[in-house]
């Protein structure tokens, strides 16, 4: 892939490691005018690079290990409205629509304009290739209003899925080619089978397995959901697939993606 000629020295490889937050929370932003718009590829790219260790602004923690991995080939818009919790992976061809943020401005205490968050993603969450993450919207009096979306920790989103949930809790495993409709609420420890279509507004109680079109509860995850056998780290060391289990801690999976 021919990379855009970046102004800064880019690290090698598919992924750009970023520090904790894409969203430069509570700090003055260098390119405020551009940020809330749909950013073209190049701008996104350079913005990400700002957070690379070489041009480390003083207010960013140079904590490389907690860095998120964001593919150079992902399409992220509205970067300022997106927070990534750390060790989170955004793969190639993923669309994160941070530009679709709430317009109703919340009154801020300091008097300054607070950037509204549209997508917040927790720690060790993996958004696989080709998935689209788009905040849900409602039309009221002819105006489209977007609502902020929250995704928890250790969530796996399979390839080519479309996510419009209002909230996804932690330890959720979403299969490939899944559609999660607007305003769906997915509680903790849920497994969504591949090709499922979760209807709008559906609430999926914790511990459920859902599948089908439309998705319905087809079972329960076992008591051992997310528990990697052998207690903690190191099981199956040297064997990629075994180091993580569905619904479990995805740290090892995140580490193996490069």
């Amino acid at each position: 892939m021919s990379r855009p000629a970046a102004r800064k020295v880019a690290p090698k490889g598919e992924y750009i490691e970023t520090v904790r937050n894409l969203h430069l929370d509570q700090h003055p932003k260098p390119q405020d005018s551009n940020i809330s718009k749909t950013l073209p590829f190049l701008t996104t790219f350079s913005l990400l690079l700002v957070t690379s260790p070489i041009v480390q602004p003083p207010f960013l923690i140079p904590f490389q290990d907690s860095g998120n991995k964001v593919s150079r080939r992902s399409a992220i818009t509205g970067t300022a409205n997106i927070t990534l919790g750390g060790r989170t992976v955004i793969m190639a061809d993923v669309q994160l629509r941070g530009d679709l943020h709430p317009t109703r401005s919340a009154p801020s205490q300091s008097g300054k304009d607070v950037t509204p968050t549209s997508i917040s993603i927790g720690r060790c969450t993996v958004i696989s290739t080709g998935s689209v993450v788009k905040p849900p919207s409602r039309i009221s009096r002819g105006v489209v209003h977007y609502y902020p979306m929250k995704i928890g920790d250790n969530v796996f989103v399979g390839p080519n899925s479309t996510i419009q949930a209002i909230s996804i809790s932690s330890h959720v495993h979403i299969g490939a080619n899944v559609v999660v409709g607007p305003f769906a609420i997915i509680k903790e420890n849920v497994k969504i089978l591949p090709r499922a279509v979760v209807p709008a507004n559906m609430v999926i109680a914790s511990g459920s397995v859902v599948g089908g079109q439309p998705a319905r509860v087809v079972g329960e995850v076992g008591e051992g959901w997310g528990v990697s056998g052998g207690g903690g780290l190191g099981v199956g060391a040297g064997w990629g697939e075994d180091k993580w289990v569905e619904g479990g801690d995805l740290r090892e999976l995140v580490r193996s993606i490069r």
Partner: protein, 583 residues
């Protein structure tokens, strides 16, 4: 099976081994044991019964007292509480008893597609003129709405209670009190007609005319009529029941036996004690008797002729309804959401609690959770990479730069294929493992299977740091390699090992699907999933453990002596290695 390859299922032998029959007589147990000995043969994953014995490891519990795997078949479940999966409100057990296992708030499922319904406000153009708001339930998936059955609501809350009063088409559903009143009124009317007229005169005709004019009784009407009839019968039998005044008491044993008496032949049992006089059966519509009317069938046929099959319901749609005898789409009712439960689980043979979640609905934690995966090694299978171990690929995450992942769905018949069996040990003691399998897989398509190193040791699951701190790493002996010339893997040696895991190679020659046609002489002797390459593997472990290892956490003070005992554990597993490609 929808599971993607490769996978491993563990078999719980609770059904076959009769371990749960501790209450059986000794002779039976001996007989059962003899029977199982006879049946000591390869576990057949394609046997229809196997479906009920195989579970993924994370679904299995472990009883430390019985030292056995416990599957959903050999545990007892106890309901801790009920809750609605949609609004996540807990429902007290008293409400479940009185109102049934459905959410009585606003949660409904679509009668067409089962997706959860949402309450929508209908556009109200005349809101200024005081027209009240109208709400409907609508399906966000298939767009069915209660407008199609003529049901609207005044408020957006308490929909369940509102729906209970509105019949399809907007008519009022009488409450049980109104029903009682109406029944009494009609009974009196009938009685008066009987009294006033000569019994011989054709009075029944006028009564018939009157019933014709009214609608056929609904299912609820008939139920309440029948319930009232039985109640009156019970009261007639036991005039004074101080414990349940007015309350119908169907569940009392005496009432039950009396009702059952209706259906048993009198000569069946001659009991010495005074038999309760059998009750009369319902004899009229007001007593809950409904007489089959052929006219309703012909009306239904006419309607299907007119509206086509699309107006009828699928069996699934019918069964999801509270009244499963509906025929047409306009009779559908929104389905109140079924409640879910939180349950604790006990060992069926020793009654110890194996899992107990915290009772709070919002909590996902467990007070007790004895998982099999903390006691049973995890066995997994994976195709042996033709070259060096590839970059761990994750589903769908493969990019062009990564090597082509092994396609488990197209195993080639007759070509020896190597897989790795990987066994990781969750126990704090090293284990000696013996794997066994039959040389050919059971089932129609016979694949040859050879485990190249069936006996090996797996290290203890010590702390990661113990491993790092101990200066001498485990000697990497007995590594197997691929012979560069022949492509053969050296037998008798393990493939690789680590702190608490060992992997061994297994050679599989997938069977031929085509052969079957000749053997059976039929067009196609193959059933669905006959092309699955599922290998049954018997796993036997031997290890030395502290006698009270499981109590270590509780009574560490006296455990210093560390009495050791040798233990053994054995179970069947089935590994799904892939699907054999058709020619």
């Amino acid at each position: 099976m929808a599971q993607s390859f490769p996978y491993t299922y563990y078999a719980c032998d609770c059904f076959d081994s009769n371990t749960t029959t501790s209450t059986k007589r000794a002779s039976q147990v001996v007989a059962a044991a003899a029977a199982t000995e006879d049946e000591e043969q390869t576990f057949d994953p394609q046997n229809p019964r196997s479906n009920y014995a195989l579970y993924p490891l994370e679904h299995l519990l472990y009883c430390e007292d019985c030292q056995q795997i416990r599957c959903p078949r050999c545990v007892l479940e106890e309901t801790l509480n009920w809750y609605c999966p949609s609004c996540l409100f807990e429902v007290p057990s008293s409400v479940v008893k009185s109102d049934g296992n459905r959410c009585t708030r606003n949660c409904f499922n679509c009668p067409i597609c089962i997706s959860p319904l949402v309450v929508n406000l209908l556009e109200n153009a005349d809101a200024d003129q005081g027209t009240p708001d109208r709400h409907i339930l609508i399906c966000p998936y298939c767009h069915w709405s209660t407008l199609e059955t003529g049901v609207e609501f005044e408020k957006h809350t308490g929909v369940y209670a509102q729906l209970a009063r509105i019949a399809n088409g907007g008519k009022h559903i009488p409450t049980s009190k109104e029903r009682d009143k109406e029944r009494e009124r009609r009974k009196e009317l009938e009685a008066r007609q009987r009294d006033s007229k000569n019994p011989l005169s054709p009075s029944s005709e006028t009564a018939a005319v009157e019933t014709e004019a009214r609608e056929p009784p609904s299912r609820d009407d008939l139920f309440s009529n029948l319930a009232a009839f039985y109640k009156s019968q019970l009261e007639a039998q036991t005039p004074a029941n101080p414990f349940s005044p007015g309350e119908m008491n169907f569940s009392s044993p005496s009432a039950y036996s009396r009702i059952m008496n209706l259906y048993s032949t009198n000569t069946a049992k001659k009991q010495k004690r005074v038999k309760p006089t059998p009750m009369r059966e319902a004899a009229s519509e007001l007593e809950g008797l409904v007489i089959y009317d052929p006219a309703s069938d012909s009306a239904a046929i006419e309607r299907i002729k007119r509206d086509g099959w699309n107006s009828t319901l699928s069996p699934t749609q019918k069964l999801a309804q509270t009244n499963p005898h509906l025929q047409f789409a306009d009779e559908l009712r929104p389905i109140p959401t079924l409640l879910c439960t939180k349950r604790s689980k006990r060992c069926r043979s020793c009654r110890h609690i194996l899992s107990k979640p915290e009772s709070k609905i919002t909590s996902t934690r467990y007070k007790i959770k004895l998982l099999a995966l903390n006691h049973i090694p995890r066995l997994s299978i994976r195709a042996l990479p033709p070259t060096n171990p590839p970059i761990p690929s994750i589903p769908g995450g493969s990019t062009a730069s990564q090597p082509q992942p092994f396609n488990y769905n197209t195993l080639r018949s007759g070509i020896p294929t190597h897989f790795l069996l990987h066994l990781s040990n969750p126990l704090f003691d090293p284990i000696r493992v013996t794997l066994a399998t039959s040389s050919t897989t059971p089932g129609k398509v016979q694949s040859r299977v050879t485990i190249l190193c069936p006996q090996f040791d797996v290290g203890a699951n010590t702390d990661v740091w113990d491993d790092a701190l101990s200066s001498s790493p485990a000697p990497m002996a007995r590594r197997s390699t691929i012979n560069a010339e022949t492509g053969q893997i050296e037998a008798g040696k393990i493939w690789d090992k680590g702190r608490n895991w060992t992997s061994v190679a297994i050679e599989v020659v997938p069977g031929f699907l085509a052969d079957l046609k000749n053997v059976s002489g039929e067009e196609d002797g193959l059933d669905e999933d006959d092309d699955l390459l599922e290998i049954p593997i018997f796993v036997r472990l031997e290890f030395e453990a502290d006698v009270h290892a499981e109590e270590r956490g509780l009574s560490d003070s006296r455990g210093s002596k560390a009495e050791r005992e040798s233990r053994e554990q054995a179970f069947w597993t089935v590994v799904g290695a892939g699907r054999i490609a058709g020619r």
